[in-house]
């Protein structure tokens, strides 16, 4: 088999299956996965005229540049009417308003047609909006500041590829910081490893291991023990933060793709919620505190994932004036609608974020939360504030009912019968919706296997409590 048909960047390997049979070849695959010309991006060189990480990501993933997508959609017929343009352009508030993030300053830029300093794609998108011959104009956009989306659907419907595509588009169009919720259990961000800055808490030893993909039906030759890998060789950069302020002010970079892991020490978390107005004070107990205090046991330790509530509140109340998009996969872990039953403190964390939600948007924080079941995995206190939903194919979309912060604009089920690779983007504020689809990503980026980042030291302290 010639190398041209094998899309795996590993020497001497004939097939994808061969590549993942051994831990070394899998590790090589990850280490060899690169992004052409990433060293020439403005984030690497500091040259504001250079292309951005987002533009680089789109090019390397084989995606069409967004201005070209807009042009194409003008010629594609809207199946409901048989006439162009596509629904995405007819109803800009359904999808475009969600992914083209505009600040107050951007509104002035559009009014004055002054695009100085903007990266190329963003400039071309703004030119498209201001072009009187195109069906979309700036007045069609309602959202200033951050947006949000409750993204949900069953497994196997292309959700991972969709999220990869969304991250790339958000970076390409907005050149803003993207924060991906890092968890030890999952690494859905692996296809984007060449662009990723992994952000870890300072002073906590982390172990990074690579494990083979799950394969219940396979024989023993597919199985191997997780092996340690050097993170610096797999991702674009590794950075460390010392508290929320350090993270949000110094580490997060405009236009960067950050995979952020929570701080098990919860530095600044309680203080931030004390300083923030209009929200409840949240109490955080780290494993070390529980270990030191005889009256506290392991059951009093705050789950690490609850750090994210303090992070969001910090961004809203003390963050820099820098737009950020947060991608939170498995949102059930944070926003489950069954929080009241499981843990008496969990609802308090949820309520604290809900109290700040109106400011979330104003602070330029966009939240892309991903789950499986809308009403179960997205707590109603937060869900009731959200404006956009994305229903994946194979799951019925809401219709003729109140949902999120308003009423579903759809009057029938569109998504149940849709094929994989399609979904529906809908907006309850403007009562619009639009189907959309996305391409698969290149095979070489579909690295199987799981990259795990864990803190063995923290586990030891927990066990000692």
């Amino acid at each position: 088999m010639s190398k041209a048909t094998v899309h795996v960047p590993v020497d001497g390997v004939d097939s994808v299956l061969d590549a993942i049979r051994s831990p070394d070849t899998l590790k090589q695959w990850l280490e060899n996965l690169d992004a052409a010309n990433i060293e020439k991006t403005q984030q690497e060189t500091g040259d504001a005229n250079a292309h951005t990480i987002g533009e680089n990501m789109v090019r390397n993933l084989g995606m069409t540049r967004f201005p070209a997508i807009l042009d194409k959609l003008q010629r594609v017929p809207d199946p409901a009417t048989g006439e162009p343009p596509h629904a995405i352009l007819r109803y800009p508030t359904a999808l475009l308003d969600n992914i083209i993030h505009l600040s107050e300053l951007d509104k002035y830029r559009l009014e004055c047609e002054d695009y100085q300093g903007l990266p190329r794609v963003r400039r071309q998108v703004f030119e498209y909006l201001n072009n009187p011959d195109t069906p979309v104009d700036p007045g069609d956009f309602d959202a200033i500041g951050g947006t949000d989306a409750a993204i949900y659907g069953g497994m196997g419907r292309g959700k991972s590829t969709f999220l990869t595509t969304m991250v790339a588009r958000i970076l390409e169009i907005n050149n803003e910081a993207v924060v991906w919720r890092g968890t030890s259990a999952r690494t859905e961000w692996l296809p984007l490893a060449p662009w990723a800055t992994v952000v870890l808490p300072k002073g906590v030893d982390a172990t990074v291991t690579l494990a083979p993909p799950n394969d219940d039906g396979a024989g023993s030759d597919m199985d191997f023990e997780p092996i340690k890998v050097d993170l610096e060789r797999i991702v674009r950069d590794v950075k460390y933060y010392d508290g929320l302020t350090d993270l949000n002010h110094n580490v997060l970079e405009r236009g960067g793709f950050h995979v952020v892991y929570p701080d098990p020490r919860f530095r600044e978390c309680e203080e931030v919620t004390k300083r923030a107005t209009e929200t409840k004070v949240l109490e955080y107990t780290s494993p070390w505190e529980a270990h030191r205090d005889d009256e506290l046991g392991a059951e009093d330790i705050t789950p690490e994932k609850f750090w994210w509530f303090a992070w969001a509140i910090h961004h809203v109340s003390e963050g820099l004036d820098m737009p950020v998009s947060w991608f939170a996969d498995e949102i059930k872990a944070l926003w489950t609608n069954g929080a009241e039953k499981a843990d008496q403190d969990h609802p308090r964390f949820i309520r604290a974020l809900a109290d700040k939600y109106v400011d979330v948007r104003r602070s330029g924080l966009s939240i892309y939360a991903v789950g499986h079941i809308l009403r179960k995995h997205f707590h109603h206190k937060i869900r009731d504030y959200m404006r956009w939903g994305v229903t994946m194919s194979g799951t019925p979309n809401p219709h003729n009912e109140d949902i999120l912060s308003g009423r579903a604009p759809m009057t029938r089920d569109y998504t149940s019968g849709m094929p994989k690779g399609k979904a529906l983007f809908w907006n309850v504020s403007s009562q619009s919706f639009s189907e959309f689809d996305w391409d698969d990503i290149p095979q070489r980026h579909k690295v199987p296997g799981k990259l795990r980042i864990t803190y063995p030291g923290v586990e030891e302290v927990k066990e000692a409590c």
């Binding site: 997508i69 809207d78 409901a80 007045g139 308003g406 639009s434 391409d439």
Partner: protein, 294 residues
């Protein structure tokens, strides 16, 4: 050349309409006569005609909502609902209160100078967009098949009938009040289906002071609104006191915020007969292949 229609089928409250070959125009005329003269007791809530005057200002607001839809939103341009608060000439003349003059001339004035221009603007608009049904062509429909006495859809457009029903339901819940803040929030969220955000109108309503937030935010961020809007004001006239106070607030809020936002929705409604069941709220279900649109 068409046969002369049977005139008896084309009257409302004994008043004939000017029959045209466009069902939409005929029905718009029907709607006008129902608003002014005959009313519509098949509508829920019942549509009382303007000539009968109203028992209270709540009925006046309800009538206004129906009139905004039936004039395709143009009544908002010629007789802005805010006048109901700021001009006693308008409100008192239309409501038959205990000490308000039952003055038919005042109603005539309102119709001649405010309602009629709005209606004529709607008629002109519809005339340039409506189709003739002459029994020929692809559809083969005949205008005589669409009767003023039986056609349910406002302006012969299912989307407008749907909008009318939904806006009327919203007002019904509004007067009834809400059990708690959560119920109020849900109702306020539902306003997006029947209104357009007022700040979108700034290009053609420059002179007015309009709220710049989506309605749900506007309402829920105002503690006074949150308190008053929860109150059941249907018996305000009899109960007095705090309920009467809440009614004054609700009347002013409805006239200054709700009705203008409802009017904008009617003005910008995109209607399509094929979307009768779903109304005009969006498109999107594509059956073609993957076009990589993201």
């Amino acid at each position: 050349m068409t046969d002369a229609p049977d005139r008896g089928q084309w009257t409302v409250a004994g008043i004939p309409i000017r029959v045209t070959t466009s069902p939409a125009l005929n029905i718009l005329q029907r709607d006008r006569l129902e608003l002014l003269e005959g009313g519509d007791n098949t509508r829920a809530p019942e549509l009382k005609p303007l000539r009968d005057q109203f028992d209270d200002r709540r009925e006046l607001i309800n009538w206004y909502q129906a009139a905004l839809v039936r004039t395709l939103g143009y009544l908002d341009v010629y007789a802005p609902p805010e006048l109901l608060v700021h001009s006693s000439l308008v409100a008192d003349g239309l409501v038959a209160g205990d000490d308000a003059p039952l003055d038919a001339l005042q109603v005539d004035d309102y119709i001649d100078h405010m309602f009629q221009p709005a209606y004529e603007h709607a008629y002109d608009d519809l005339e340039s967009n409506s189709q003739e049904w002459t029994g020929q062509g692809e559809e083969g429909g005949d205008y005589r098949d669409i009767q003023t006495t039986t056609e349910k859809n406002v302006a012969f457009k299912p989307a407008f009938r749907l909008l009318d029903e939904e806006q009327a339901d919203v007002l019904k819940a509004y007067w009834r009040g809400f059990d708690d803040e959560r119920a109020l929030r849900q109702w306020a969220g539902g306003l997006t289906a029947v209104t357009r955000p007022l700040h979108k109108a700034r290009t053609w309503r420059r002179r007015r002071e309009l709220p710049q937030q989506p309605l749900q935010e506007l309402i829920m961020s105002d503690s006074v609104a949150v308190d008053y809007l929860q109150v059941d004001v249907r018996d305000a006239g009899e109960l007095g006191g705090e309920v009467a106070e809440a009614f004054e607030y609700k009347f002013a809020f409805a006239a200054s915020v709700l009705l203008p936002a409802m009017a904008l929705k009617a003005r910008t409604l995109q209607y399509n007969a094929e979307e009768a069941a779903g109304g005009p709220r969006g498109r999107g279900a594509a059956e073609n292949g993957n076009i990589s649109s993201l």
